[in-house]
């Protein structure tokens, strides 16, 4: 299964969430999305958005001032 990458660095919240939402609209069930962000709020907001939409956060990491969040797309939301 392919992993897509979304570069949301230098975007302030909630733009990383909005871009994640837009990107996931075009992805299918089971696909993975790696979100790269620099706004610390992303580490809270992107997983929160995933929880309310039923997508799974596989991992979230902080490296220096950058945040990497790996999401598994679940469509429909009950599929994971």
């Amino acid at each position: 299964m392919s992993t897509h990458v979304l570069d949301a660095r230098r975007l302030i919240c909630p733009l990383p969430v909005i871009r994640t939402q837009q990107k996931i609209e075009s992805l299918g069930d089971g696909e993975e999305l790696l979100v790269l962000a620099t706004d610390p709020g992303s580490l809270h907001d992107v997983p929160a958005w995933c929880r309310v939409h039923g997508h799974q956060v596989r991992s979230s990491e902080q490296t220096d001032d950058e945040y990497h969040i790996l999401i598994q797309v679940c469509k429909p939301m009950e599929s994971c």
């Binding site: 230098r10 302030i12 919240c13 909630p14 733009l15 969430v17 909005i18 939402q21 706004d39 610390p40 709020g41 809270h44 907001d45 929160a48 958005w49 929880r51 309310v52 939409h53 001032d65």
Partner: protein
């Protein structure tokens, strides 16, 4: 408005809720969800309501919680939330509000009608049945008066598919109430600016953690921010802005020594890091031999302006008490100048330079 949604199945009604992240919209959604209606939330990002991000930038606020309140509300209620980027479309509301501004540059009535209109478009595209908001009659001086409620319904095109659950019983029945999709007797009759009834309702629902105060997060209601936006329009000779403009107005000290240029001086390391992201678009200055802020220059400058900017930058560095501080100036084309300047004293920067 066309009637795109079939009305024959009363058990599958769906409502879209405007979710600001505050208590009122949270309660409105909860009241309707408790009647068995499927509710999903919408939150519109205009660029002006960014409660968390300035906290994320400033060093002193790094330890504060950076949650998005609208998302947090959605999680508490167990509903989906869609965050919509309306930055470009919203410019027309800020620049040319049909109903004018409030105390500052806040176009509250136009803003509300715009957001309900966007919700109406989303409702139609997604085959939902009606819209709910957390509006309370009499709570806001401009957008939430009893006379302005029909204006929002009419100008948004939502008409009687717009339901305000907290004040429904002091307003004419809407389509969801008349058709029995919701039970009007279980809706509220809250009016006025007091928060007492909302807090009581929150307690009844066992909602103990919600954003306070319920005044909204819009920077356009802030006098200082509005002054900076007016200054930007004056300096450019036109009323316009882009997203970076409105973000930068929230960051740093804004100092305008002359009409043709302004300085944005970082106040701490967090702001220096953030403003450093704009080094390719702006002429910028930084201290070479003392810790200090980055300063961006917005406008066209001559050599003597750069020297002035260097003295101001030096004033906010650790070398402010030194006889001489070395400042480097870098232009977007990569050309560099170096100045050895005497830092300004605190009395050397007139108050009227601060925007």
């Amino acid at each position: 408005m066309n009637n795109p949604i079939p009305l024959e199945n009363p058990i599958s009604r769906k409502a879209v809720a405007l979710i600001s992240g505050g208590l009122d919209s949270m309660l409105a959604a909860k009241i309707i969800m408790d009647q068995g209606i499927h509710v999903e939330g919408l939150n519109f990002f205009t660029g002006f309501c960014v409660e968390g991000h300035t906290h994320a930038i400033r060093t002193k606020d790094r330890s504060k919680t950076k949650r998005n309140n609208a998302l947090w509300v959605a999680e508490q209620l167990g509903m989906k939330l869609h965050i919509i980027d309306v930055i470009e479309e919203y410019k027309e509301i800020v620049l040319n509000p049909k109903h004018g501004y409030g105390a500052n540059l806040n176009p509250c009535l136009d803003c509300k009608a715009f957001m309900v209109q966007k919700a109406r478009e989303w409702m139609e595209a997604n085959e939902f049945d009606f819209i709910i908001t957390g509006e309370v009659v009499g709570q806001r001086p401009k957008s939430q008066r009893k006379v302005s409620m029909p204006i929002v319904a009419r100008e948004s095109g939502a008409l009687d598919r717009l339901l305000r659950p907290l004040s429904a019983n002091v307003l004419p029945p809407t389509l969801p109430e008349r058709e029995g999709w919701v039970d009007r007797t279980k809706l509220g009759s809250i009016t006025g600016r007091s928060r007492h009834q909302q807090i009581k309702l929150a307690n009844n629902f066992q909602l103990v953690d919600y954003a306070q105060p319920a005044g909204g997060c819009c920077f356009l209601t802030d006098a200082y921010y509005s002054n900076k936006l007016r200054d930007l329009w004056r300096a450019r000779g036109k009323r316009d802005y882009d997203f970076d403009d409105i973000v930068l107005l929230k960051i740093g000290r804004h100092i305008r020594p002359h009409a043709h240029f302004k300085l944005i001086v970082a106040r701490d390391e967090g702001e220096t890091n953030f403003l450093s992201g704009y080094r390719k678009e702006f002429t910028y200055l930084y201290t070479v031999d003392h810790p200090g802020p980055i300063t961006l220059i917005d406008g066209e400058t001559e050599y003597r302006d750069l020297e002035l900017a260097a003295r101001i930058t030096a004033r906010y560095s650790r070398g402010k008490d030194q006889q001489e501080v070395k400042i480097k100036v870098v232009k977007p084309n990569g050309r560099q100048h170096e100045f050895n300047v005497t830092p300004f004293g605190s009395a050397d920067i007139p108050d009227h330079w601060f925007v």
